[in-house]
Symmetry: C2
């Protein structure tokens, strides 16, 4: 699907163009005309007349020339008709501004317009959106109250109303946009298609998104993997709302989005290198800091300040964002000492004191920014009586231009620093109103840097798996009886995918049990097998630590227990396995299916601590080797594997392998709805699945 007609149409029709001032249909024409678009604009309205100097046509059919793009702002019920007319006119793209679809429960109407657009090969944006702006083509098909300056930020928003605030803030910070897209209900075109386009858009350096839900994690992972391999990978900054259950409910009521577990989103952002902004304010700060700066090459940050307090606060923020405070070279320190007052601090943060003038700032920044121990600089200024706000801003802008290192500046104040901020904005020096966000921006630079580091981005693909066997098993299962897969099939599937499972065999009689036992160690575990019993322990259906010599007694006891406590249960056998006593740590591995994002994998500490301490890490399938490694590092229990407290080091690699096999299994078989591997016993050499459960769709 080409988006060119959407962003670079040769002609645009606005259906629903209105004579009523202040209405959406009027604003659309006004905006389109005032943007100085070079193509042809056709306002369409049954009433005819003229609007902003243009003749108003009565219908699309009346237009003599070709129409590339149609903007639709008529009541929802009339939209299908307009789109059919557009189809007949061979329109290539449509932006449906009108509301009244999924977001108010009219999903059939929305399905109808998608089907019309599909039929006529129309690329559809919306419905229920604010429109689209492409400053490069001087195209404004939105009813936003401001036209943005041209610039290098592409903005995609799932909320229409937030756009006007974004434009207003951006203007006050001198930020411009390449493309500005309100995607509304994203019935056809969503963020994936737009990202795919914007990754290659020459006008765009940074992509910023506000979203309430995303879908198809696998596709986004694939897309960003491609992105990471382009010569100038673009950062994608995302503000995702609906983090909490209540927020999710609120988002449902206004966009019809079906959100889900937020941990899955955090996982998605980690895996795709997307940078999650924690608030609207942070979204702006990050956009400005990324767009005005080159890439960060390592994580050593220097701070220059004329006020101790803000320097300390920023240092706190720097080190709590996985950054290091740069250690200035001896040469820099000597140079600084040579001219700075004795009370100044030449260690990082470099405190150049309240009486610092522009020249002192200039000399210090020059030394610090060229120091090879420094990868980026934060400059803080508080307006003291002796501060030269404008000259300092000029000096910073000059040095910033000569450097290839990121610089973020915070002039901490309002009126007293306004003249300086104006210069910094003009000169495209990144600023944050407060000091701490400057450090947060560096944290984001560094997250992006680490994600871009060369790494194996291939997903796990073990060759020793037998997917045919799994396919056969799943084909034969009757899920109408129970979604819970029987234990023997569960283990058969795990075995087919090469998981290290505790050997287990089912005996159907006492004599068979005795025969089988010869192939096990001397102490055993016996478990009842019955399609009617899901909690075996409760009916006395599990016996542990059974010595082989006591097998007969134990076998009888087990059957007696179960027949007395669950007399109606069908008993199909008794499972025999080793009683594992080796030292180690018990983990859980699991998979659940996220409604939008797909297969979600989890690892955590097993036992009673799982529920209480919630020490877990999440990722989305498919995993790479480093995903699995990072997942394991994220759980605190990881230290137990590393040999905390003089314990032996356990086999982490075996756990990573299990995660990889799990990722491959659930990617190949999406009909597996939930998997619980609990416990996975990790020992000094290897890991062993002691029990597991699979639930099908």
């Amino acid at each position: 699907m080409s988006l060119t007609s959407l962003f670079y149409p040769k002609s645009v029709a606005i259906v629903g163009a209105s004579h009523q001032l202040g209405s959406v249909g009027n604003d659309l024409v006004k905006n389109a005309v005032s943007a100085q678009y070079a193509g042809t604009i056709y306002p369409v309205n049954l009433k005819g007349g003229r609007l902003y100097g243009l003749p108003v046509l009565k219908s699309l059919a009346e237009i003599s020339g070709a129409v590339d793009l149609v903007v639709v702002a008529v009541p929802a019920l009339f939209v299908p008709q307009i789109l059919r007319e557009a189809g007949a006119k061979k329109v290539k793209a449509a932006i449906v501004i009108s509301a009244g679809f999924n977001e108010v429960g009219r999903s059939e109407l929305e399905a109808e317009i998608v089907s019309i657009c599909t039929q006529y090969h129309i690329t559809l944006i919306g419905p229920n959106c604010l429109g689209l702006i492409n400053t490069d083509a001087k195209l404004n098909t939105s009813f936003a109250p401001l036209m943005p300056e041209s610039g290098q930020i592409a903005f995609i928003s799932q909320s229409g109303a937030i756009c006007s605030s974004v434009l207003d803030f951006a203007r006050s910070r001198g930020l411009g946009f390449s493309k500005f897209i309100s995607i509304g209900n994203k019935a056809m075109i969503g963020e994936s298609e737009l990202l795919e386009y914007l990754i290659h858009d020459r006008q765009t350096k940074v992509i910023v998104m506000y979203v309430e839900q995303l879908s198809r994690a696998e596709q986004l992972i694939e897309l960003t993997t491609k992105l990471s391999q382009t010569p100038h990978p673009k950062p994608i900054i995302v503000l995702k709302s609906g983090r909490t259950a209540a927020g999710f409910l609120a988002s449902q009521s206004h966009t019809g989005a079906l959100s889900g577990n937020d941990a899955a989103y955090d996982a998605l952002f980690t895996q795709t290198g997307m940078i999650r902004a924690e608030s609207i304010s942070e979204l702006f700060d990050l956009a400005e800091c990324f767009v005005h700066n080159p890439r960060l090459h390592n994580n050593r940050v220097a701070i220059i300040t004329n006020a101790g307090g803000p320097g300390v606060l920023t240092t706190d923020t720097v080190v709590s964002h996985q950054l290091r405070m740069a250690q200035l070279s001896a040469k820099s320190q000597t140079e600084l000492r040579a001219f700075l007052p004795a009370a100044a601090s030449i260690k990082n943060p470099v405190d150049i004191l309240g009486d610092a003038d522009a020249e002192r700032y200039q000399k210090v920044l020059d030394i610090v920014i060229t120091d090879q121990e420094v990868d980026g600089v934060i400059v803080l200024l508080t307006p003291q009586s002796m501060t030269q706000v404008t000259q300092t801003a000029q000096a910073i802008a000059l040095l910033k231009k000569r450097s290839h290192k990121p610089v973020v500046v915070s002039f901490v104040g309002q009126q007293l620093v306004a003249s300086g901020l104006e210069i910094l904005h003009e000169e495209k020096v990144a600023t944050t109103t407060f000091p701490e966000p400057a450090a947060i921006a560096f944290g984001a630079f560094d997250t992006f840097r680490r994600w871009l580091k060369p790494q194996n981005r291939h997903h796990f693909r073990f060759r020793d798996v037998h997917s045919d066997r799994v396919r056969r098993i799943l084909a034969e299962v009757d899920t109408t009886v129970s979604k819970l897969l029987p234990t023997d099939l569960t283990f058969a599937i795990l075995k087919a995918y090469g998981f290290p499972i505790l050997k287990r065999q089912i005996a159907h009689s006492w004599s068979e049990a005795e025969e089988l036992a010869a192939h096990f160690s001397s102490t055993l575990v016996l478990k009842i097998v019955s399609p009617d019993i899901s909690h075996k322990t409760e009916v006395g259906g599990v016996m542990i630590n059974v010595h082989r010599t006591d097998l007969k007694k134990a076998y009888r006891q087990l059957l007696a227990n179960v027949t007395s406590k669950a007399p109606l249960a069908r008993i199909t056998g008794v499972e025999i396995m080793d009683f594992v006593t080796e030292e180690g740590v018990e983990l859980i591995l699991g998979m659940t299916t996220h409604p939008q994002l797909g297969k979600q994998l989890v690892i955590g500490l097993g036992g009673i601590y799982t529920e209480v301490l919630k020490d877990t890490a999440w990722r989305l399938a498919p995993l790479t080797h480093s995903d699995a490694q990072n997942m394991l590092k994220e759980v605190k229990a990881h230290e137990l594997l590393e040999g905390a407290r003089q314990q032996a080091k356990l086999d982490s690699e075996a756990v990573i392998e299990c995660l990889g096999r799990l990722s491959q299994l659930v990617t190949n078989f999406p009909q597996l709805q939930e998997i619980d591997i609990n416990p996975l016993k990790v020992t000094t050499k290897g890991a062993l699945i002691l029990d597991a459960r699979i639930i099908l769709e």
Copy 2:
């Protein structure tokens, strides 16, 4: 110490008044004169002359009238001499602006000026500060570049340079100050003395502080306990820097502060009801929101918005700050439904759509704010083409005035919403630039509300403790040999303070052991007692699970182990105790001494999980019963006590009692430097200390 002469002097001398424009000594006189202070100002400088219309006197002695307050801005080395002259002149208070004391390592000079001030009964602010402002007396003894408006915020700052930024931001938000104090090195007057004064200051409604270190937690706890009992308790909002080790180092270099473990500060703020701001930006938002609002009465918040996205983001923030989204009453919902468009959401967040005009805002706010299910309202506005910014601001201001509930407004934008913000600032309606901070402010309102709830604020004081015994033990210990208290004395101290300790007795011979064993259960633990052995297990000095009938054999074995592995160790006996097998959870209880704040108590999950999972909660002594309760609730392991996973409920009250006794013990005996109670075994009825360690000063 009275601070009246500091805030309300009848006359002020400025020593170091300078003719050089832009110098500190010049700014001080300029500021003092332009503030329109009603008392007399005496500029003092050896050169004489006139300054801003006033005659410059050559020395303090030359002043004919009395001087209440002297402001000193001469080089550090001359300060002692000036203070002596001030003493001779019977000056009551001094503000030393001059730097060059503790912060550059000259602690003797700082000690000298404190001693002079003490000798002459001079109340001292500084040194190394920006000065002090009291808008009520039109007194400005600072060299800050702006004089603040009069208002109800008192600001105390440990950083001088941050003050100018604070004044600049405050002015742009229409915020005024009652008192404004830069405390610098706080050689004599620190935040405690100022808080004590400000709690009773009629002009002050909210106290805001920037600090790099605090001291004497006990005193602050006492002070805020008093505060909680005043008729109109004032919120204290604190920005504390130096959260990280690097930040702490940075703060040391510019104020000479000796900071410490940040968990102790979090504990202090929790216990004193002080509200910790997470950033400079948050400090302003909280100050504005508190000063313009009445107290919050419960935690049900309603959101009104004309944009879905910001509504969702704010909902997320509301629920992640222990607040509840208000459920509007059926009546309100009916009323809203009657006039709102069909697409509007009448559930909270109330989305009144992008085309909302001032009247719609007014009608909705009126219904929501009077709803009895609502305790406070957040109003959000994004500037759409149809938005009536000024009229909406007016409508909000009017309704806010009529209500006794807190309201926080965010007009999300810049130029497009400026006219509305101006009205809101003028009308003293609290605003935040972005939506999420409005919810954070409500979170802070609620924290303060919960802290003010009637509760027993008495510290633990058990009457069944024998402090005399502990005093005697401690008096006899020789700490020159070892700081580690011998086990028997450790347990004697714990016993004297009524802790539930596992009964243990020391046998000095095999026959004595046999005799003693009769008073224990049938399975025992034996431990070697030796002043030379600190790790008993390593030398085979511990035997567990010893049946009474095997006592002789075990006793001999124990001695044999130790004599073979530690042949030179003096053996003073063998400790006998029960082998505890009862089901339960092992916790640790501990105390460490924080360099500034005092005795710091900790509780956490015991065993290998302590180190790995770091599931701990901290408080400062002395504790109240609710402190101890909250501490226990803060650790996730708490759920294990509550009977997670169908386990039995354990005796939490016994743990709380132990915390209380620990608090009392360390408050009574500050020479106890460190205590480790590990493990404390908690069972279904009671708790038992199995082992413990005490380290002395």
